[in-house]
Amino acid sequence: MDDMKNRLKVLRAERDWSQAELGARLDVSRQAVNAIETGKYDPSLPLAFRIARLFEMPIEEIFDDEFNGGDHG
């Protein structure tokens, strides 16, 4: 299975949120946030959209499937 990389940990740290706090804002558990950050779990499309809306960024600026070698520019 292809690994999906993401910037969730960085974005969370920029806002000084804990994993539990981000989880509560997204209506998921702290474990789910941790699993997404560490690449053990790829979020569903609805959750990816919730994350994008929360950080006010396009999904592809948060998640990178490395389909184009990680270059989306």
Binding site: A20, E21, G23, A24, R25, D27, V28, S29, R30, Q31, A32, A35, K40, Y41, P43, S44, L47
Partner: protein, 147 residues
């Protein structure tokens, strides 16, 4: 309202939501546990004292029917409620562990059956197959949660 007060309120809000999420899950799991405990207590109370665990006809038929109905209803509604209160990671893990348990039983029985046909092993036993599926489910759950 000062910004620090707002920050404290916001923090309380997300912490309350996290607690509420945990409470919902604990309520469903706790209810299922209590139903299982009650069912086990009733079976133990009415069971023939001379009978061992695997003896047939050791509890009254009404209790057997009531326990079977209670088990089916509780696990069906309980699983449905648990899926509602769990987040998507937990739901995914539940689905994966169910698939693992199902595969252990679906592959285990024919394998055991063909070995039995060859006279190598005793006849397939439903209880052992169930226990194998249950153990596989528990191991898979632990692996997906702790990896």
């Amino acid at each position: 309202m000062t910004s620090s007060t707002e920050a404290i309120m916001a923090e309380t809000d997300w912490q309350a939501r996290a607690r509420q999420r945990k409470r919902r899950v604990n309520l469903v799991v706790g209810t299922l546990f209590c139903i299982g405990l009650l069912s086990g207590f009733l079976v133990g109370f009415f069971e023939d004292e001379k009978a061992d665990l695997l003896s047939a006809n050791s509890i009254p038929p009404w209790l057997a029917v009531a326990s079977a109905i209670l088990f089916v209803v509780a696990t069906t509604i309980g699983s449905w409620k648990l899926m509602q209160v769990s987040d998507e990671l937990e739901r995914t893990i539940h689905v994966k562990t169910t698939v693992v348990a199902g595969n252990v039983m679906l592959i285990g029985y024919p394998t055991w059956f063909i070995l039995w046909k060859g006279g190598i092993v005793p006849e397939p036993d439903a209880l052992w197959l169930f226990l194998a599926g249950f153990a596989a489910s528990a191991i898979a759950y632990a692996w997906y949660k702790l990896r």
